[in-house]
């Protein structure tokens, strides 16, 4: 399944490299390092799934998730957390995140989680 993905992490080199790896696998990726700019993009662009780092300058991934859920219910969000901060991930799940993954992520695990998120989202929107 080819997906349109929004990837947000303030670690520029990390986010652009993951984006390139996903692009090599046929996905369309917008990689961003600023959560506020990413929220602006979400308002104007339709994505299949968003992958968002929890701890970022400016706006946190959790705050982004709350806004996305408030305004764009059809966009599933996967959170990336640092090792040992799984309570952030759990809080994200409580806020409606599809899943949380602990960095460093395995690219195939990430793709598998995103695929599940998109499939579930499609099932929900088609009322299955």
């Amino acid at each position: 399944m080819r997906m349109k993905i929004l990837l947000v992490d303030d670690e520029g080199e990390l986010v652009y490299t993951i984006a390139e790896r996903l692009t090599l696998r046929g996905h369309q990726v917008d990689a961003m390092t600023d959560g506020n700019l990413a929220l602006e993009r979400v308002a104007t662009t339709k994505y299949d799934v968003a992958v968002v780092d929890v701890k970022m300058p400016g706006i946190s991934g959790l705050a982004m998730l709350k806004i996305i859920n408030r305004d764009h219910i059809s966009l599933p969000v996967i959170l990336l957390t640092g090792h040992g901060s799984s309570e952030d991930g759990q809080e994200g799940m409580d806020e409606g995140a599809f899943a949380y993954l602990i960095k460093p992520v395995n690219i195939e695990d990430l793709i598998e989680t995103m695929t599940r998120a998109v499939e579930e989202s499609h099932e929900k929107s088609s009322g299955k």
Binding site: E11, R21, K55, P57, G58, G82, H83, G84, P104, V105
Partner: protein, 220 residues
């Protein structure tokens, strides 16, 4: 009894400070490792595509990725050195140190906290040093409390400045919030902990407008 409660509370605060710094550094190290892992994975992906299509990976692409990998390794090395140096501040209850070096190390450790708040943390450490007997861990905890409180009290794009001044037998370290607004930088709990630690270091604090100045004398 009161002293025991106070000591227990202060030990808890020391542990919390140690934990905050270690958590912040390990988070940064993990980002370095994660980036290195992805860059290596990218090389693997490009090799796979190259083999499949029979087209070699362009040399400048290889060089670019190698350069980024080296950068991440060097970044990781700096972070691990900081972690190691900080961990060793608990080795001695008193040792001879240049306070300027301890301030410099703590400013480096506080940069991530500033970044997360989108605050600029600047230090002017161009003056002479101040070598004295000190408990390095407690000294750094004091610097952290003041700098971190200042950062936390800032709005986005504001600035915190630390200056290291030596005047004869006095070392004065003003930490200023360059903003305006007159919000208190220290909350009640931080203020109380700071006073306790300053008394341990035989040092004092002056608070005026947007500045908290820490004052140390020789041989505390």
């Amino acid at each position: 009894m009161k002293n025991q409660v106070e000591n227990d509370e202060m030990n808890q605060e020391r542990l919390a400070f140690f934990g905050k710094i270690i958590a912040s550094l390990s988070h940064e190290i993990m980002n370095t490792v994660a980036t290195g892992k992805e860059l290596s994975g990218l090389l693997e992906d490009l090799s796979f595509v190259s083999r499949k299509n029979g087209v070699p990976i362009p040399l400048d692409r290889m060089e670019s990725i190698a350069g980024k990998l080296i950068h991440q390794a060097e970044r990781g090395e700096i972070l691990i050195r900081r972690l190691n140096k900080f961990s060793h501040t608990v080795d001695d209850s008193v040792r001879i140190e240049d306070l300027k070096n301890l301030v410099s190390d703590m400013i480096d450790l506080c940069q991530r906290f500033a970044l997360l708040r989108q605050v600029e943390l600047k230090a002017d450490l161009s003056g002479i040093g101040f070598t004295t007997a000190v408990n390095p861990f407690t000294f750094q905890q004091v610097i952290f409390i003041v700098v971190h409180s200042m950062i936390t009290s800032c709005e986005k794009d504001e600035k915190v400045q630390v200056i290291f001044n030596v005047e004869e037998d006095l070392c004065k370290i003003p930490v200023s919030r360059i903003s305006g607004g007159g919000r208190p930088a220290l909350d009640e709990a931080s203020s109380r902990i700071l006073k306790y630690l300053l008394s341990e270091l035989n040092a004092k604090m002056e608070q005026k407008d947007e500045t908290i100045a820490l004052i140390f004398t020789k041989g505390h």
